[in-house]
Amino acid sequence: MSQHQIEALKLCFTYPDGHKALQGLSFGIGQGESVGIIGSNGAGKSTLLLHLNGVLRATAGEVRVRGVPITAASLSEVRRTVGMVFQDPDDQLFMPTVFDDVAFGPINMSVPTLEVQSLVEAALSRVGVSHLSSRPPYRLSGGEKRAVAIAGVLAMSPSILVMDEPSDGLDPAARRRLINLLKGFDHTKIIATHDLDLVLDVCSRVLVMHHGRLEADGTPNVIFSDSVLLERCHLELPLSRQRQ
């Protein structure tokens, strides 16, 4: 049995239009690790994330969650284990009130109604937006929407959090709150982002993707001191490093 929480084995994915988005990725992520996935636009980051909870299915290779391959039979368990926060919170928030939206996941998991109430309240207070409970989601600010989207995933009590561009579109204060929030989670975290400073702050390991392949895998210190690698993958030093 693997001790990895999540594991990709020679993962390949080709879109129906023939675009090869993933070309044989392999990696394993252990319990409690905080991993940043970086790479230029179109490197395949979002496509990879969608494989981690079985929204997309590999054309070759496989993904294992706690040693179990993702198949039709294991899908509902996988989605309970792997919580996914989407890039655009508007894609995720569609119920009439914040409360209903956060309750959507637990209800689908057939959690009893009384427990749903306390799960939702706990998730909302964890991200600091309990006061928004009865508001319609489309009336919230960008930072509030992001927080509610994260609460919606937390309410499902996942052990692995997968996030696509979590700091996208946030003002500096909201971004700082998000970073502090992420640092406080003891979940296994997988974060795809262009925000390299967020990676420096939150992640203990970095995967670099380029053209659907894994170019490098190491600690932020090692990755961000390899200027040849960064240039080849259309990346730059994090701003905080550029000043040094």
């Binding site: 969608l50 509902s76 989605r79 989407f86 894609d91 209800i107 689908n108």
Partner: protein, 269 residues
């Protein structure tokens, strides 16, 4: 703000009205759905020349709107927006039905015009009732209520998606329209530009709905939308429904306008 954007805000605000606490928010959505259904059946069941007998029915949407603290003006505007459909349905009646029914100031009014007017009144009544239902109950709760009344899940889920995606599509349209206005000015573009624009709109809307669907299945969606709210049918719901249905049956059975006129003119027999 473009007209598309303001129409979109209007549409979303109608649904948002349902979140306010009013005299009606404690009622079970099923009671409100059944009351509205009874209203619509009663209103459309009249004979095709009915006009005066239909007028008392206007009280229902007005009373519900007042109790539910729904502003009447946006409801009125939305009825006007939908009016062309009703006009299309009835516009040929005056041409087909020439039978003179009565005379006003020496001008004979044919049955066609009367039935046309009757269609418009019924349309306004039923659409108003439906809009007021949405504004007092909320689209989601209506669907939950319908599902509990035994309407198959496949229809209620479709309705919810229709509602959700129409907002998504309208959002795309308004952003695209803004981009067009900013670079193309207020002047209309040649027709040939609109083809690719519509194509883009379709592709963007499809992409977006795909992402929404992915977000839903990521949170365990399996084709059935469930609500966290448990519905409780109380005595007040039975009373509300019984009172509504009683009034509709009364107004259907007796021509209240006629009776009132007779009383006022002292011709009660």
């Amino acid at each position: 703000m473009s007209s598309i954007q303001s129409a979109l805000n209007d549409f979303a605000s109608l649904d948002a009205l349902a979140t306010q606490q009013t005299a009606l928010s404690g009622l079970d959505p099923r009671a409100k759905v059944l009351a509205t259904l009874g209203f619509i059946i009663a209103a459309v069941s009249f004979d095709r020349y009915a006009i005066a007998a239909l007028l008392p029915f206007a009280l229902f949407p007005v009373v519900i709107a007042v109790l539910g603290e729904v502003p009447l003006k946006p409801i009125g505007t939305k009825i006007l927006v939908a009016a062309p459909f009703a006009i299309m349905v009835g516009v040929f009646n005056p041409l087909l039905d020439h039978k003179p029914l009565f005379e006003i100031f020496g001008i004979s009014v044919s049955g066609g015009w009367v039935s046309f007017a009757s269609i418009l009144i019924r349309f306004a009544l039923t659409v108003a009732a439906a809009l007021v239902l949405v504004a007092t109950t909320g689209f989601h709760q209506i669907c939950v209520g319908l599902a509990r009344l035994g309407v198959p899940q496949v229809f209620t889920t479709q309705l919810l998606f229709l509602h959700r995606y129409s907002l998504v599509l309208a959002g795309e349209v308004s952003r695209m329209n803004l981009a067009r206005e900013l670079r193309g000015g207020a002047k209309s573009l040649p027709l040939i530009v609109y083809g690719p624009m519509l194509g883009h709109l379709l592709l963007r809307a499809m992409d977006r709905s795909q992402r929404i669907y992915q977000a839903m299945i990521s949170r365990g969606f399996n084709g059935e939308i469930r609500s966290s709210r448990v519905l409780h049918w109380r005595t007040s719901d039975s009373l509300f429904l019984a009172a509504c249905w009683f009034c509709f049956m009364g107004a259907r059975q007796f021509d209240l306008s006629h009776l009132l006129g007779a009383i006022l003119l002292g011709r009660v027999t």
